[in-house]
């Protein structure tokens, strides 16, 4: 999936690293007990600590630490037994303390990898830090208002090495990482609400050459924008270099309306964040038992589950990958498949259900058909009550009405006719009526079988068991 940029003077290669800011799934903030729910009225989720009142002190939220450790274990990182919270000092109206508590030199997770097709992407580190509040510029014509609801919310900053070689790879990496976070339940991955944001470090170079000077594109809040921003930025850098210019190391913003990146307002004075260890917090010391307890309670990870689906359940690689792209999908599938034909269940989840969800733009959590209900439908097909075609009709009805498969079969009288005696009568009647065609069949035009089957199905309003009809027709025509 790597892609080269065609310049006027030959090809160029991308080197992309991402910095992902993932809001930790936690009811309370990183250093205060204030709630973190999205969409609350401004300044209603702010504790004295979040507002940086005099004399207030941070106390680490254990849940956030557990989530960071869980995430680190999820991508195979090393969990630091000793990590340190530092203060990153700068003035900003939505930064109440005048510093952000973050981890600078000693992060909680070091290393790890995320697999994308054709490449193993190295994770540099994961650290915990506080989010800032929000400056609101459009409520009042003369003043900027401050909403501190987000101030102090826990973020995991996950940094990758510059291993990505195309906008598509960057998008794939973020998709996989987001899925992993959701899989682990450590971040809800909601990019619209800002639970997941991303900065992209982009540079270009001649294939195989040393890394070029990078620019940082800030605050990309959708995977599409990430791809578009990198695409644009790579081409821009090639144009600058080929025109004899130099890339300036700077931060840029992506304008989705115009599809281009622009330098952020240049600050006259470069920031000196004056990092130093936060004296209000002791270093974070994690013991083996704490880490092992989290490791022991880890869910089966996506790759392991995918392999199991292929090896133990006999699914195709394609279906297994599709069904393990999200943990909720895999859970749904396994619930629907429990105690019945696994491949049929996989077909229905991967085909009908995911297709419909996709068309409606829904996540599987929002499917109106519960897993057990879909399982019942699979059973009704397996025991011959429904044909495959009838099954699809019942599926549609289940989706629309929320009723069970059994109830719909009952209501609509959809039971498949598998009574040999009744069907034999119909077959005999048909062959008598179409004696010419029967003769043609017997003379070798066996293609006519389809015609006969269709006629029986028509006569039964589609309820005849197609397999049985086939068998009966063959028997009569070839006797």
């Amino acid at each position: 999936m790597s892609a080269l940029i065609e310049g006027r003077e030959g090809v160029w290669e991308y080197a992309i690293g991402l910095e992902v800011h993932a809001q930790v799934a936690s009811a309370a903030k990183l250093f205060s007990g204030a709630p973190t729910a999205f969409g609350a009225e401004p300044n209603t989720q702010v504790s004295l600590v979040d507002a940086a009142m005099p004399g207030m002190l941070p106390v680490i939220n254990r849940v956030c630490v557990e989530q960071a450790v869980r995430t680190g274990l999820g991508f195979g990182g090393a969990i630091a037994r000793h990590s340190v919270f530092d203060r990153k000092n700068y003035f900003y109206p939505d930064l109440p303390q005048g510093y952000q508590i973050s981890q600078y030199s000693d992060p909680i997770v070091v290393g790890g990898t995320v697999e994308i097709p054709g490449r193993t992407v190295r994770i540099t580190r994961l650290h915990l830090e506080q989010d800032a509040g929000k400056s609101v510029h459009d409520r009042d014509p003369d003043r900027t208002l401050i909403d501190l609801n987000r101030a102090g919310v826990a973020l995991m900053e996950i940094v990758s090495e510059p291993d990505l070689r195309s906008p598509e790879e960057a998008a794939e990496f973020l998709t996989r990482l987001r899925a992993l976070l959701r899989w682990l339940g450590t971040c809800d991955g909601n990019m619209q609400e800002g639970s997941l944001r991303c900065d992209a470090n982009v540079s270009v170079r001649r294939p195989g050459a040393e890394l070029g000077t990078r620019t940082e594109i800030k605050n990309l809040n959708s995977i599409r924008f990430l791809r578009e921003a990198i695409e644009y930025e790579g081409r821009r850098q090639v144009e600058v270099i080929e025109a004899g210019g130099e890339i300036e190391q700077e931060t840029r913003l992506f304008d989705p309306d115009r599809g281009e990146t622009r330098p952020m307002r240049t600050k006259e004075d470069a920031h000196d964040y004056r990092y130093f260890p936060d004296p209000d917090l002791l270093p974070l010391e994690l013991d083996e038992a704490f880490i092992e307890a989290i490791r022991a309670a880890m869910p089966e990870l996506p790759e392991a589950r995918r392999d199991r689906f292929v090896e133990k359940l006999g699914l195709s690689d394609y279906d297994a990958a599709l069904l393990t792209a999200e943990r909720a999908r895999a859970d749904y599938f396994e619930a629907a498949a429990r105690g019945r034909d696994v491949k049929q269940a996989a077909n229905w989840v991967a085909g009908e259900l995911l297709g419909r969800l996709n068309r409606e733009g829904l996540e599987i959590e929002a499917a109106p058909i519960p897993a057990a209900g879909l399982g019942e439908l699979v059973d009704l097909i397996a025991d011959g009550t429904l044909s495959g075609r009838m099954g699809r009709e019942v599926f549609e009805a289940m989706w629309e009405t929320g009723k069970s498969a059994g109830a719909i079969v009952e209501e609509r009288g959809l039971k498949q006719i598998s009574d040999t005696g009744a069907l034999e009568g119909l077959v005999d009647e048909l062959l008598a009526r179409e004696a010419d065609k029967a003769a043609e069949y017997r003379a070798g035009r066996t293609k006519l079988l389809g015609f006969f089957v269709g006629q029986v199905m028509k006569a039964t309003g589609g309820k005849a068991n197609p397999k049985l009809v086939n068998a009966l027709l063959r028997a009569r025509l070839e006797e």
Partner: protein, 488 residues
């Protein structure tokens, strides 16, 4: 009732010699009469009388007395007090009224104390004279013989020290970052104890330097310091640096005497220019303890000389960050301007005095890129070496005896234009602060001018009991019973 200490009040209330309300009214009147000391930022008469009435009600109902039942205590205006203005003696917080109560003052309230007034301090606790206060300098109740000039009470807990020394209140709360309890105690002829770092919660105390700040008592006797500390101390889940240590009965430790204790005398504290009479007092203090049965041991604390410069890097560094929250956005002073950057600049220029600005600048400088390692990292290394000096010393001795301050109280206004001279006040107190150790100043005598001098005892971490035992022995031997000019 003027000379009553906490232990006396406990006995008097138990005997019915007076009521808590009588005592509170008497002390509130004394506070009004002590205006010349400029020691009070905000009196709290309503709060005090309500607490005194509650104490009397408890006693009338036959309930067992609380540890500080009915005892008037003044509070340095650095502790946040719910619905009572808390200023840190700064223009920045001149009108700031917190909606919360600091853990230490809440502990005192729960122990039945009668919190009577918020006391003057150096702005944001930065100073050794209480002269950097936005509300003007507090005044030491002591004067030199034949010298009418008002003297500095020391600082930064100068208002608290002055009120206790003038017998306006029996006890007061201070905070100590580099000597801010012990030096004013020495200047005012009273007892001042800085507990082990982590012994008392910092929650709700306006922060100066987080890794050094510690609350402690200022009293007229060692026993009263033990009583007050017992009510202040304890683990607080709201302060991550607060220690999970049981709180012993400090008062019970006092009777122990010093027989068999080994007291270290560090040769490095004998600094150039130290007044001979201070050196003599120090030797006398050692002799008193020896006579009481202690063994005096000469010990090295080799890195002492580096303590003061290290302190004046670490403390301003933390302060520069701790004071960043005073930006005029959410509370406190705001000086509006066209841009937010300009608003920050104007607000902080108007809200902070010269000494605070100086320390914020020093702190910002030592943390900045390119200087961090040369200053901050090195200072932290020095800090570890100083802590190690003490650890090694405490393998040989149980406590360390030193002078508290290099001079007696200086006249108001002196040293104000010479920050280095002012910083030298902390030379003996800063090492224990950097090492986080408990240390107490005990009044040990008067100098030739009739001004009090203090001796300091430093102990092992969380061994306030030994420090208090030795302090009680020193107190008894010194027999310090002089009263300041103000009350004569």
């Amino acid at each position: 009732m003027r000379r009553l200490g906490l232990a006396d009040i406990r006995a008097g209330l138990a005997d019915g010699a007076f009521s808590a309300v009588e005592l509170a009214e008497d002390r509130l009147a004394a506070l009004e009469g002590a205006e010349a000391l400029n020691a009070v930022v905000s009196p709290m008469p309503d709060r005090a009388l309500e607490a005194a009435r509650a104490a009397d009600r408890r006693r009338a109902a036959g309930e067992p007395a609380l540890p500080l039942d009915g005892m008037p205590v003044a509070v340095k205006d650095l502790f946040c007090t719910e619905d009572v203005r808390t200023t840190a003696s700064s223009a920045m917080l001149e009108d700031f009224v917190p909606p919360y109560e600091s853990t230490v003052t809440a502990n005192l309230i729960a122990a039945g104390a009668v919190l009577a007034a918020k006391t003057n301090l150096d702005e944001f606790a930065m100073g050794s004279s209480t002269a950097t206060s936005h509300f003007g300098p507090a005044v030491n109740p002591w004067k030199a013989t034949g010298d009418a000039r008002p003297r500095a009470p020391g600082g930064s807990s100068g208002g608290s020290a002055a009120l206790v020394a003038a017998s306006v209140v029996p006890a007061a709360l201070g905070t100590d970052t580099g000597g801010s309890i012990r030096q004013p105690a020495a200047f005012c002829g009273i007892v001042g104890l800085k507990p082990t770092y982590g012994r008392c919660s910092r929650w709700g105390i306006v922060a100066f330097a987080s890794s050094l700040d510690q609350a402690g008592p200022l009293t007229r006797s060692v026993r009263d310091a033990a009583i007050l500390l017992g009510a202040m101390a304890g683990h607080d889940p709201k302060d991550s640096t607060s220690a999970r240590q049981p709180v012993p009965d400090f008062e019970a430790a006092l009777g122990g005497g010093v027989r068999g204790l080994r007291i270290g005398v560090p040769r490095e504290y004998r600094v150039d220019g130290m007044p001979e009479e201070l050196d003599a007092l120090w030797r006398r203090g050692a002799a008193w303890l020896e006579e009481a049965g202690a063994e005096i041991v000469d010990i090295p604390l080799p890195h002492t000389h580096y303590a003061l410069p290290a302190y004046y890097i670490v403390a301003p560094a933390e302060a520069s960050s701790n004071l960043a929250r005073y930006d005029g956005v959410r509370y406190g002073l705001r000086t509006p301007a066209g841009t937010v950057e300009e608003q920050y600049a104007r607000t902080r220029r108007a809200g902070f005095g010269a000494e605070v600005r100086r320390r914020v600048l020093i702190g910002t400088y030592v943390l900045s890129a390119g200087y961090y390692d040369a200053y901050y990292t090195k200072a932290q290394r020095v800090r570890r070496l100083i802590a190690r000096d003490f650890e090694q010393a405490f393998e040989r001795v149980d406590a360390v005896l030193t002078p508290t301050a290099p001079t007696a109280a200086f006249p108001l206004g002196e040293k104000m234009d010479d920050p280095i001279a002012m910083y030298l006040n902390d030379v003996f107190t800063v090492p224990a602060s950097l090492a986080g150790l408990p240390a107490v100043s005990v009044p040990a005598g008067l100098d030739a001018e009739g001004l009090p001098l203090g001796l300091q005892l430093i102990g092992r971490p969380f061994d306030e009991e030994t420090v208090l035992r030795a302090a009680a022995a020193l107190e008894e031997a010194a027999g310090f019973d002089a009263e300041p000019e103000f009350v004569r």
